[in-house]
Amino acid sequence: MTIDQQTLQQVVTDVCSGMLGLEVEPSEKDNAATGDALSAVVKISGGWDSLVQVLAPRKTAKAIASTMFAMNEDELTEAEIRDAVGEIVNMVGGNLKGIVEGDSSLSLPCVGEATGSAPFDENFKGLEISNSCQGDPLIVRVFDRSRCES
């Protein structure tokens, strides 16, 4: 099975709403919101070679961390905020890996500032969904490296 937008949306909804109780729904992409954002990436290697990225503006990242840690946003440390976004991409990536056929492995999540949306840029051609999470933007991208044109 390959990953399409509907599948990706379902996985993100299951992770964010089903488990964490976050209010998540598809939305129009808000490019301006991704300026000061965190990028969390996991790499899937093996049968399905891909990258999965969660791009969360700081406001969204704090809202997610606040829910996961059951703490007020102003009490959260930077490490806790990054940890929360990292766990989201870990769960999304892990679930996508389980859907695609073949033996693949999942890397540990890598979380950093989303300057230039690394490892993706504005020319990104992979799968992308935009969501409103607790009223703030949340973007999830999948880049299938086996389909990458050299």
Binding site: D14, V15, G18, M19, L20, A65, M68, F69, A70, A79, E80, D83, A84, G86, E87, N90, M91, G93, G94, N95, K97, G98, D103, S104, L106, L108
Partner: protein, 129 residues
């Protein structure tokens, strides 16, 4: 009794703690398998349950499970993997290594409690108001 929660994500440890602590367990937390082993060796006779992530730095969950089962002299610590791993071959490896049960992320509190019941974990469920 103690429950040992091993996950490199502090957020996930917090979520699991919020579910398991009200069941009457004292909680130990570790960020990877090696740290988990050290905590377990300090309190082995008091730990009833380990909730273990698979994909972690230093020592992953599968290695932790193998080591625990190899070291086990008497008694049986209940080992539950809390993971995104869903591939049958990988799950079979974990079961062969001595895992009692799996919980797939994402999970709900009810799913986790049901899995704990299935493996016979003693629970002091709080009385509903």
């Amino acid at each position: 009794m103690y429950a040992l929660i091993i996950d490199d994500s502090r957020a996930m440890r917090k979520i699991l703690r919020q579910i398991v602590e009200p069941l009457g367990f004292q909680i130990l937390e570790a960020g990877h398998g090696q740290e988990g082993l050290e905590l377990l060796n300090e309190r082995r006779s008091e730990v009833e349950l380990c909730l273990v992530d698979w994909n972690m730095p230093v020592m992953n969950g599968l290695e932790f499970v193998k080591t625990v089962r190899k070291q086990e002299q008497e008694g049986h610590i209940k080992l539950m993997m809390v993971t995104t791993e869903t591939e049958p071959a990988q799950m079979a490896r974990a079961l062969m290594a001595g895992v009692d049960e799996f919980v797939m992320k994402p999970f709900t509190r009810d799913i986790l409690l049901e899995k704990l019941r299935l493996i016979g974990v003693s629970m002091q469920l709080p009385v509903a108001n």
